[in-house]
Symmetry: C2
Subunit: 242 residues, 2 copies
C-alpha cells in the first residue's frame, strides 16, 4: 500500500521535506489532504485522524505519515523512518544517526526561519508583531543564518568522500532538505541570501545538483510542488529582508 | 569505557534530559565539562571537541555524547541512541519511533519555554526584550502550555497498559523528560503551573513517581543535580508569571 502523507494542502511547510524525499526516491505516496474531500481527502481527513479518540498514539500536529497501521509524526522522525526504506539513508548506524542529527538541525533552522515572521507566537498574525519580526529577522539574518549555512558548508568540505553529498558518498534526505533550505531562503530573503550565499559555494552547488536530479526536477516543474507563499515557513516580506 | 556527556557545566538546560536518563538507569558516565580543567575538563574540553578541525562530523552545539569514536548530538537523538542500551526504550520499532516522536515534542516544548525569556533571539539579553517576553509568555501560558500538557495527559489516559508510563508498560526516557518538564515549569512559572496542573493529574502522578525512583531520588538530592537558575531554559522571572 502506498504511503499516506498527511499535511496542510496549501503550503509547502514542514511537510515539504517529506514530499521532496518521496518525490526524489520516486516512491508512490498519497498526499491525503490534497485529494478531493468527496474522495475522503482534504483537511477533514487530516483532522479526523488527529482527533480520532480511538487512536492510542495520536499525532500532535502535521505532518504525519501513515504506513499501514503505523502513524509517525515529526518531520525528522518521518524521514528517519522512510530514509532506509526509500534508499535515501546511509547503510550504517553511525551514518543514520548523523543524517538524523543534521535533519534535527534543519528542524531548528526552519523553526527560526518561521519565527522571523512570528517571534511572539503563531497564534498572533504577522501584522500584530511587525516591529518584533524586524528585530528578530535582523539578528537571524546577520548572525544565525551565516552560522547555520557556514556549518553545512564546512560539513561538505570535511566529507571524506567529497563535497557531492551531505552524508557519505550517496544521496540522502539531508540533501533534499539542504535544497529546500536554500530555495526557501532565496524566496523569503532574496537580498540577504544574495549576500550570504557567496560564503557557501559547495552548499549552493549541492542545491543545484539536487534540483536537476531527474525525478526532483520533474516534481519541481509539476503542479504537485505548491509555490512558496505567505502562509508557509518561508515568507517574502520585503520589509524584513534588509 | 564510560559514556562522556559534553554540556555546559553550570546549567541543567537541554543536557539535563540526558543526565536524568543516565542517572535513572544507573549507568556510569563522565559529565566532562564539570570535571576540573586541570584534569582535561571544564568548558575548554567542550570547545576543544566542537572546534576540532580534524573531526569529519563535528557537533553543531552541546549537548553531545561521546561513546568511543561516535560523537552524537541533539538531545532527542542522544536519548534515542542511549535508550535501548541503558534499558530506557521500548523493545519494538514502533515503540521506539513513538518514544522518539514524544521526545521531539519535548524538544519543541523546551524551545518555546526558552523563548518566553528570549523571543527575539538568544544573542540579546532578557533585559533587552522584556516587553516582548511578557507578550510571548502570556500566549505561551494561556494557550501553548495547556495544549502540550493536555496532550501528554491524554496519552497517559489512552495508554492501553495503563497510565503508569508514557510509552507502553515500562519506564523510558520519555518519563524522565516528563518529570523535567513539570519540575521546570513549576520552578519558572509557579503561579501559572498551579492553575495548569489541575487539569493533568496523571502527568503529575507520573512526575511524582519518577522523582521517587531510588536512583533518580538519589541524584536529585545530590550535588550532581545543578539547581534551576536564571541561565538555563526554565527561568523564574516573576513578572512573566501571571
Amino acid at each position: 500500500m502506498a504511503y499516506e502523507l498527511y499535511y496542510w494542502p496549501s503550503i509547502q511547510g514542514r511537510g515539504e521535506f517529506v514530499r521532496l524525499a518521496l518525490e526524489d526516491a520516486g516512491v508512490a505516496y498519497v498526499d491525503v489532504a490534497r485529494q478531493p474531500e468527496a474522495e475522503g481527502g482534504g483537511v477533514p481527513a487530516l483532522m479526523k485522524l488527529m482527533q480520532d479518540t480511538e487512536l492510542e498514539r495520536p499525532p500532535y500536529a502535521p505532518p504525519f505519515l501513515k504506513d499501514g497501521v503505523l502513524v509517525i509524526s515529526q518531520t525528522a522522525n518521518i524521514l528517519q523512518y522512510l530514509g532506509p526504506k526509500i534508499g535515501l539513508a546511509p547503510a550504517d548506524e553511525a551514518g543514520r544517526l548523523w543524517a538524523h542529527q543534521l535533519q534535527l538541525l534543519v528542524t531548528d533552522f526552519i523553526k527560526e526561519a518561521h519565527d522571523t515572521h512570528h517571534p511572539l507566537g503563531s497564534s498572533l498574525y504577522y501584522e500584530e508583531q511587525k516591529p518584533e519580526s524586524l528585530r528578530y529577522s535582523q539578528n537571524f539574518l546577520s548572525a544565525r543564518l551565516p552560522k547555520y549555512l557556514g556549518y553545512f558548508e564546512r560539513l561538505l568540505e570535511r566529507n571524506s568522500t567529497g563535497p557531492e553529498y551531505m552524508v557519505g558518498g550517496a544521496a540522502t534526505y539531508v540533501d533534499t532538505s539542504m535544497f529546500q533550505i536554500v530555495a526557501g531562503m532565496r524566496y523569503a530573503f532574496p537580498k540577504a541570501m544574495a549576500g550570504a550565499q557567496a560564503a557557501v559555494p559547495k552548499l549552493l552547488a549541492l542545491h543545484d545538483r539536487v534540483a536537476t536530479r531527474p525525478r526532483l526536477a520533474a516534481y519541481l516543474a509539476s503542479n504537485r510542488r505548491i509555490p512558496f507563499n505567505e502562509k508557509g515557513i518561508f515568507r517574502r516580506y520585503p520589509e524584513l529582508d534588509r
